[in-house]
């Protein structure tokens, strides 16, 4: 059953069908203009209640998983009447659980025309607390009334795994062009839209595209929402190209969670850049009281011995819902404030960077809380001097520097019109490592070996040199390089364990990563952050790869 053929206008009255059609169009075109057209076509026809859910999912909303993967697998295997091993083989060929299920189920016996909003509100979400028997009955019924591409979507919606290649900004653009509203207004109104605490509704959608009211844009009185985050661009040229250093404000670039701290109407909210509300996760930050009408932009870090702890330590905090006093003592979090967006209830994003900085210093110095630290401005008389200071980044546990134009306004997203923020990162750590295991990728790369495990040399107890795995990486190669590596893997396979192939070690890669920490959970005793392939080292034999000793030497 094809997923791509479902744009037949005869079916357009069926809401799930419509949304599936939109998904297929977005999924099959790589051209931004084509995606924009598809979005506009969909939103110009969709009922507000359905459009509300569509905005939610397209903008990256992730509802909690309604039904566990285990049950989805079990029930779909049952309904299709195939044994488990055969399901597993299908999954290996497809590379996506929802798509596998969509295709192994028998063809539908019925047709339905149920709206997306009804699907979500009356058919999917209510299953959350149901017994497995009830869920089984419901799923068998749902699956029997949907085509393969609709089933695929349904399972993505149920499992919280919906993803499609559109940015939130593109959705904003489509709505702004349809409604005639300024892109900044729509963008502002969309803040918090994907927060799982608030259910999309026809009313919310209507107010999203309603005509602009006087003075709108800034002052969401009493509202919890943050502003669209202003994002930095990587600096690839020499900083000298930026001109006079006095026109630039330099700060450290921290490796934590980007967040906005919002205080309005006596209440405080802490938002991550993914627009998740994380107020309860960091009480030492959300407990700090400001004047009403204050919004700070900054970075959350675990802070120990007057410096940031590794990201791995912060991760231990992110996952936790209940925080013991032990955790709070061992892993204290701080908010490094680097910008002020709202002051005295006024949106000051259009004020110059230098002016906002001045006000930020006033706000922070008036508060004496251990959880609040102002991001220091780094002083240097010329770029060369700044470069020398930047060389100390690693020992300060930061990723490099941020360079902000002193006249920059605070933009929305990765825009450059308002002025620029550059991230001037230090080069990654690198080692040469040997490819020892490979696994097939997912989605576009489902039948190619694209996910690799890399090893470095280490002496075992008897003094014998052995390869120990230390990192997995799957990015950094071109499609053409992947095809080459895939061919070598197929030729040099020595063993298969389920989906994993162990290969004869023949290929050396330069692996880059951002951080390194001790880890008891990894065989090599260390864990690296953001490992990726920088290049294939055809010029190196496996004996010339690096050793675990080299990696240990990188621990600070």
């Amino acid at each position: 059953m094809t997923m791509s053929q479902r744009t037949n206008p005869l079916h357009s009255k069926k809401a799930m069908r419509e949304f599936a059609g939109l998904y297929n169009e977005l999924d099959s075109t790589t051209a931004t203009i084509g995606k924009l057209d598809a979005l506009k076509r969909y939103f110009s026809h969709a009922q507000p209640a359905n459009a509300a859910w569509a905005v939610y999912f397209l903008a990256g909303g992730k509802p909690r998983q309604t039904i566990s993967t285990k049950l989805l697998r079990q029930f779909s295997t049952e309904m299709s009447g195939i044994p488990e091993w055969l399901f597993d083989e299908c999954y290996l060929a497809v590379g996506d659980l929802a798509e596998t299920i969509a295709h192994i189920l028998p063809p539908p016996g019925n047709e339905s025309c149920i709206a997306l909003a009804v699907w979500m509100e009356e058919r999917i979400i209510p299953l959350r607390n149901e017994t497995p028997e009830k869920i089984r009955g419901a799923l068998f019924g749902y699956w029997d009334e949907l085509q393969a591409d609709e089933r695929f979507l349904l399972i993505k919606l149920i499992s919280g795994g919906f993803r499609v290649g559109v940015s939130k900004l593109l959705v904003v653009r489509a709505l702004s062009e349809l409604s005639g509203l300024d892109i900044k207004i729509v963008s502002q109104r969309m803040m918090g839209w994907t927060d799982s605490g608030l259910q999309p509704s026809a009313m919310r959608y209507s107010s999203l595209i309603a005509p602009q009211v006087a003075f709108e844009g800034a002052d969401p009185h009493g509202q919890p929402y943050p502003y669209p985050f202003f994002l930095a661009h990587p600096l690839q040229a020499d900083p000298e190209t930026l001109g006079d250093i006095r026109q630039w404000q330099a700060e450290w670039k921290y490796d934590g969670i980007r967040a906005q701290l919002v205080q309005r109407g006596g209440q405080r909210w802490l938002w991550s850049r993914g627009e998740d509300l994380i107020t309860d996760r960091f009480p030492e930050i959300s407990g700090i009281s400001f004047a009403d009408g204050t919004v700070l932009d900054g970075e959350i870090l675990v802070w120990k011995n007057d410096r940031p702890a590794s990201f791995a330590e912060l991760q231990k905090r992110i996952g936790r819902k209940t925080l013991s006093s032990k955790i709070l003592n061992e892993l204290p979090a701080v908010f490094i404030a680097f910008d002020l967006l709202e002051h005295g209830g006024q949106d000051i994003r259009n004020a110059a960077q230098s002016e906002r900085r001045g006000k930020l210093e006033d706000v922070v110095s008036a508060i004496g809380a251990p959880g609040l630290i102002i991001s220091p401005v780094i002083d240097a008389h010329d770029w060369q001097a700044l470069r020398v200071i930047r060389d100390s980044s690693r020992s300060r546990a930061v990723e490099g520097m941020m360079l902000k134009s002193v006249s920059a306004r605070y933009g929305a997203g990765r825009t450059k019109e308002s002025g620029v923020w550059w991230k001037w990162k230090i080069d990654p750590y690198t080692v040469d490592a040997v490819l020892i295991y490979a696994q097939k990728g997912h989605g576009r790369r489902a039948s190619l070996y694209t996910d690799y495990t890399f090893a470095v040399w280490n002496d075992d107890l008897e003094g014998k040199r052995k390869l120990v795995p230390f990192a997995k990486a799957y990015s950094g190669l071109t499609d053409r390089e992947i095809a080459q590596v895939d061919a070598v893997i197929r030729k040099t396979t020595v063993d298969k364990f389920g989906p994993v192939r162990s290969v004869m070690p023949t290929m050396v890669f330069e692996i880059g990563f951002e951080g390194i920490a001790l880890s008891s959970r990894h065989k090599a005793g260390i864990a690296v952050r953001f490992p990726r392939m920088l290049r294939i080292r055809d010029d190196k034999k496996i004996d010339e790869a690096d050793s675990l000793e080299t990696l240990r030497g990188m621990l600070t």
């Binding site: 094809t2 295709h103 576009r444």
Partner: protein, 345 residues
Amino acid sequence: MADLVVAKKEGLFCVPGQFYIDPWLPVERAIITHAHADHARPGHVHYLAATSGAAILKSRLGDITLDTLAYRERTVHNGVTISLYPAGHVLGSSQVRLEYKGEVWVVSGDYKLEADGTCDAFEPVACETFITESTFGLPIYRWQAQNSILDDINEWWRRNGEAGRVSVLFCYSFGKAQRILNGIDNTIGPIICHGAIETLNRVYREVGIPLPDTLSISGINDKARLRGALVLAPPSAAGSPWMRRFGDYSDAFASGWMLLRGARRRRAVDRGFVLSDHADWPGLMAAITATGARRVIVTHGHVDIMVRWLQENGFDASAFDTEYGTEEDDNVAANESIAFKESHA
């Protein structure tokens, strides 16, 4: 009794008959199930194939020594009775029925159950042992009726035409292209075929398969005539300079592999039409059951999986290692086309 057919390094071999079926190395005597390159190789001394496939085979292999059999006609060689039955895969494709001392084996070649207008429809043949292909031997593969896919192609072509764009449909030159030509609505607009496809169209027309009129690109001087045209081209033409003349076009690929999202994305075409000349999973199972065979030997495709499934369902199933490609196999083709696209970026 000893096995009638075994796998040798040259190919599948009929022991008492002393001949091969679709061998991949040069041999004295070869029965050819169909003219796709991985089944019909050059260099054998004597060829035997279905009468309806003779013209295609000669057009591809040149001046070969070829004997032909009409479907269901019998001939005896070294005591083995040989007859050919339609496999429904492409023009002239056959299943090979071998009978020796009362025992019957059938070698399927490549096959498809749904009938189309370009070749004789698949016909089940009763046998004790059935040697089957397994290109799409996974339960995820289930085809929609050909007509609904052709409707989708017509619709896509019509809409592109309305938007003033050319529709470029990539498909394999032999079989798939003619099946599409035979089935589509040729009133929508002009049809242009790549030279590799037109060569085969000529042979199809000569043996009386109805195909609509097609144009070659060199015959079109006025570019305005391209508007609203459907262009059929082999996958290897993707990204080539040949494509440039079509300006702003929408592209699509017709293959069973287009069922999966990952394969569609790797192809990087606007549309994937799931149209295969091979049996889908229900088709494979129906074909096996219809033979009444208790013993099944699986070749090229998802061999291990089919063997295990058949064993669990009471068949005496095993595998033959062969060197047939799954000519719709996307992996090699995808890598080629990626490399091609990069070098022509």
